[in-house]
């Protein structure tokens, strides 16, 4: 029992560091691809990418770009206007080593979050750390001309201009292998980013809340609960009666801490992502790495407590004809992996879709106001955006609660399957 707890704790720490890192070490073939990518980048430079420092005025509001910028992770917290909350930056380049500093070293004050310095080929573009793809770029601290964009394959990528020459930038390595526009590049970002900071904040908040409730129980053990204790007790009893007991059955109490922690953690992350200003505004459950880590924890917990009947139901389902068993077993094995996968995607998709819709509605102000030209249009946009966003935010509150509940409920259901008694 003790060993299992320690083992589970170790797995939890592993999953947590995965969330924090959100990357993977490149394998041998990926290293080849990385080198290839750098070679191609050098080729692209020879194809005369032109970019300069003339300030570009956006004539049309680019909703997708703004939305993805706001729901993405960043290395500095943008609070208001030119006010940033700087965060430590820790970058690792395989073969080169670590670069650790505060994000203020990039000197991005009064520059829309674009750094004025390149340190070891790292630059900051709108609060996110990128790296100059060209290996020939000087690796000491240099002052760059400006941060701009360059058109390539019909898409615009960030680039910097240094001594009149254009240098395209590459973003950090992402674990999804490039599916959502990432891939393996020359560096990995292990910084305390917006997301990591927000997760630590949520951790501290939940710790404080549960400590207060525990002290309340210790101070007056047999009295009616009041205040915060009342609220938390209501929720925990709800999880116990509506989620744990019906779905897990007799041994529900063993999993109550896990289910309660899951529910409160996901709910807190969802809600703190809904607050549009610092210290909220960190989009955690809308980040697939975070939901992947949660689904992975569920996957390990469910399969580590699986008993004989669980595995028998998967590999050799009792009570069906032998011919069907041969079809059913591969399906069940697939289901073993698809269930946590859908857990991850469901939470991620719901929260991300909500955020994108909210940001798009705010973008209506700029669309109606034709990017600052039409004041009447902008005013109408403000009223429309206000009404639509009030409605959407109410729905998003509901979605935050429902998604936390559904994740917990499905986890309880899978745990119930794993600890099922023989009933045939």
């Amino acid at each position: 029992m003790r060993i299992r707890t320690i083992g589970l704790f170790a797995l939890l720490m592993l999953a947590w560091t995965w969330t924090v890192q959100a990357q993977h070490k490149p394998t041998h073939e990926e290293q080849h691809r990385m080198d290839e990518a750098q070679g191609h980048q050098a080729e692209a430079d020879h194809h005369q990418l032109t970019c300069d420092c003339t300030p570009k005025e956006d004539s049309v509001f680019n909703t997708a770009k703004v939305a993805f910028h706001h729901i993405g992770d960043a290395n500095a917290f943008h609070i208001w206007g030119d006010l940033y909350f700087p965060l430590p930056v820790m970058l690792y380049a395989p073969g080169e080593g670590w670069t650790t500093m505060m994000s203020t070293r990039f000197d991005y004050a009064h520059n829309h979050g674009n750094g004025r310095k390149a340190i070891n080929r790292y630059v900051m573009v709108e609060g996110v750390v990128y790296r100059v793809a060209d290996v020939q770029f000087p690796s000491e601290e240099v002052a760059i001309d400006c941060v701009t964009e360059v058109e390539h394959d019909g898409e615009s990528h960030p680039a910097i201009v240094y001594k009149g020459q254009c240098y395209p930038l590459e973003s950090k390595t992402t674990w999804d292998g490039g599916m959502m526009g990432g891939g393996t590049t020359s560096f990995m970002d292990f910084s305390i980013t917006k997301n990591v900071f927000t997760m630590l904040l949520v951790f501290a908040l939940l710790w404080w809340m549960f400590s207060a409730v525990r002290k309340a129980y210790q101070k007056h053990p047999n009295q009616a609960p009041k205040g915060l204790q009342n609220l938390v007790e209501t929720i925990i009893v709800f999880i116990q009666e509506e989620v744990a007991k019906p779905f897990i059955g007799k041994h529900y109490f063993r999993f109550m801490p896990f289910l309660t922690a899951l529910f409160f953690f996901i709910l807190a992350l969802n809600l703190i992502g809904q607050i549009p200003f610092f210290p909220g505004s960190g989009n955690l459950t809308g980040n697939i790495s975070v939901t992947a880590a949660l689904a992975l924890i569920t996957f390990f917990r469910v399969n580590l407590v699986g008993n004989r009947h669980y595995w028998q139901h998967i590999f050799w389902m009792p009570g069906v004809p032998a011919a069907i068993k041969f079809i059913l077993t591969p399906v069940e094995i697939l289901g073993l992996f698809i269930k946590p996968f859908t857990l991850m995607l469901r939470l991620f998709a719901n929260i991300t879709a909500g955020h994108i819709v909210l940001i798009s509605f705010v973008g209506l102000i700029f669309v109606f106001g034709k990017m600052g030209e039409n004041l009447l249009g902008a005013s109408i946009g403000v009223v429309t955006a206000f009404l639509l966003n009030s409605f959407m935010m109410a729905i998003e509150l509901l979605v935050a609660l429902i998604q936390a509940f559904v994740f917990t409920l499905l986890t309880a259901s899978y745990l119930g399957d794993a600890t099922q008694e023989a009933h045939h």
């Binding site: 959502m180 859908t342 995607l345 469901r346 998709a349 719901n350 879709a353 429902i402 559904v406």
Partner: protein, 68 residues
């Protein structure tokens, strides 16, 4: 005709979700009409099933964001 096939696919996914959740809502209304005192459990199960169906539809939406 301009636009992307992705947008068409997303519309179809939303159509599927609409039909599914509409069915759940309709059956839930019938059940509440038959037995008004069971409103609580019916409402809870309706929201749960709707969330599961919406999950699948939104998975389709997210897969539309994939590049290449």
């Amino acid at each position: 005709m301009t636009g992307s096939i992705t947008a068409l696919g997303l519309g179809l996914a939303v159509l599927g979700a609409g039909v599914g959740i509409g069915q759940i809502g309709g059956r839930a209304m019938d059940a509440i009409a038959r037995q008004p005192e069971a409103v609580g459990p019916i409402r809870a199960n309706m929201i749960l099933t709707a969330a599961l169906i919406e999950g699948v539809a939104l998975i389709a939406v997210v897969l539309g964001f994939l590049k290449g």
